[in-house]
């Protein structure tokens, strides 16, 4: 009857007592005041059509279930619409907390392949969505500069952007040079 469904038992080794502190330090300072009312889940546009439950992520974070939260694909279903943050009766910065946990997830090597691809485009061109031939043509027809006056047409600017992405560690993060589990 319950094939594939395991009872939710939390063992001590699953709990990282520092996990919430790190989320608080990074800016989601009121997260501990959560009363699990579920307003965040109720207003969530992704939650209305998937099994993603914001309340559940917050609860698991508060319990210190770091590995489970960071590995969860649900973390990436948030559209950052900010409805949960606006409606939270405890004024918890729910969306910020999700962004903080996403940063931790990426740092632990959890990144969706499409997101890595967009990041690689940023690293190569300075744009997550770079120009293509069809739009160069359309720009010309519209009387705009064929290549936008961005990093696309300025080598020094692109060089600066690449250098910044190197200095912040973004290049290593995306190239996967960073070790998993750190």
């Amino acid at each position: 009857m319950t094939d594939g469904i395991s009872p939710e038992i939390i063992s001590n080794e699953d709990i990282d007592p520092d996990f919430v502190d790190k989320i608080v330090e990074a800016g989601a300072d009121r997260i501990r005041t959560c009363i699990q009312c579920g307003t965040c889940s109720a207003v969530c546009p992704s939650g209305q059509r998937t099994a993603f439950r914001t309340r559940e992520i917050i609860r698991k974070a508060l319990l210190g279930l770091k590995d489970e939260v960071l590995a969860s694909p649900d973390l990436w279903l948030c559209t950052t619409c900010y409805d949960c943050l606006e409606r939270c009766p405890r004024q918890i910065k729910v969306t910020d907390a999700i962004l903080i946990m996403r940063n931790m997830a990426a740092d632990h090597g959890f990144m969706l392949p499409e997101h890595r691809k967009a990041s690689q485009k940023l690293l190569a061109t300075g744009h997550a969505v770079p120009i293509d031939n069809a739009n160069r043509e359309i720009r010309k027809e519209l009387g705009l500069k064929e290549v936008p006056p961005t990093t696309h047409s300025d080598n020094k600017a692109l060089k600066d952007v690449k250098e910044i992405l190197k200095r912040t560690g973004f290049k290593d993060l995306i190239d996967g040079q960073k070790k998993e589990g750190k």
């Binding site: 559209t79 943050l85 910065k93 997101h115 969505v129 519209l142």
Partner: protein, 299 residues
């Protein structure tokens, strides 16, 4: 006429210049006619995207955002953008820098030796914010062809409005400023169900989980079809991408042309009400054909 003109550095972002340059063309055409001058922000990069790059590494997001803001600062102008996502990045980055001097120091350290001067004192504005400051009366003055009988479904977009603590609007919810600007053209802002619903594209969801993303867009599109609007009016290049491409995708899935609501940017709507050339406004370069809308307005 306009007694004084303002000049802004126009931050293009990624989606507008590289996927929907027709929106960009309409902005270059219409804003100067309202007394708002625009200059290229040369060498700008991705803002970078608040839901994507900020999700992966916040310090990278802050540093690149600061570089773009610094380019505007060095040109002596405030920055202006026509994308809600870019707007969110700049509003949030400025607040982070201003409230935490430590963050400004970190960013400056990253810029070392690059000749980038940055104080965080310049402002970042949205195109619709500046138009809204002019007010609906000013819009009525420039309108020469009232768009009577045109039913518009207004879409604000999440990041234009939220987090409300860091946005300039008078209200925190049930906004009306864009509806008023639409109605100043003579068009009607039609009521429809769940008008404040997210377009579904943000947060990296469009890029990685397209089915969920399009399903959110579908909910709103169904409500707009139900309300019988002639077009959607948006003010965000990413929401725009979503409504243009989601309609095509949904039609392919169901095998019929159920979704064909023209999606236009506010400056395109205003341009039509100012009797500007639809071709110059880029209205022939949409994914969803704008002809039914143009026929209704030009007939």
């Amino acid at each position: 006429m306009t007694p004084e003109t303002q000049t802004y550095s126009f931050f293009l972002g990624c989606v507008m210049p590289n996927r929907f340059p027709n929106l960009e063309a309409s902005i270059w055409l219409v804003l100067p006619k309202l007394g708002i001058n625009l200059e290229d922000l040369e060498g700008a990069s991705c803002c970078p995207a608040p839901g994507v790059i900020r999700s992966f590494n916040e310090p990278t997001w802050l540093a690149l955002a600061a570089r773009n803001l610094a380019l505007a600062e060095m040109s002596g102008n405030d920055l202006i953008t026509g994308c809600n996502g870019c707007y969110a990045t700049f509003k949030e980055a400025l607040t982070e820098i201003r409230e935490h001097p430590k963050r400004l120091k970190e960013v400056k350290k990253i810029f070392k030796g690059m000749g980038i001067k940055f104080s965080g004192k310049g402002e970042a504005k949205h195109i619709i914010e500046v138009i809204s400051d002019l007010g609906p009366d000013k819009i009525r003055e420039v309108v020469t062809r009232k768009l009577d009988g045109i039913k518009v479904g207004v879409h604000y977009g999440c990041h234009l409005l939220k987090p409300s603590k860091n946005r300039p609007w008078k209200q925190t919810q049930k906004h009306t400023f864009l509806d008023e600007l639409v109605e100043a053209t003579g068009a009607e802002s039609t009521k429809y169900k769940d008008k404040d619903l997210c377009c579904g594209a943000g947060g990296g969801v469009r890029g990685s989980q397209v089915e969920v993303s399009v399903d959110i867009a579908k909910e709103k599109l169904d409500n707009l079809v139900e309300a019988g609007v002639d077009c959607i009016v948006d003010v965000c290049s990413f929401c725009h991408l979503q409504y243009e491409t989601a309609q095509e995708q949904l039609n392919m899935e169901i095998g019929e042309k159920k979704y064909n609501i023209p999606v236009i940017y506010y400056t395109q709507l205003l341009g039509l009400a100012m009797e500007l050339n639809p071709i110059e406004l880029g209205l022939d370069k949409h994914v969803v054909d704008t002809k039914p809308l143009l026929d209704k307005i030009l007939s």
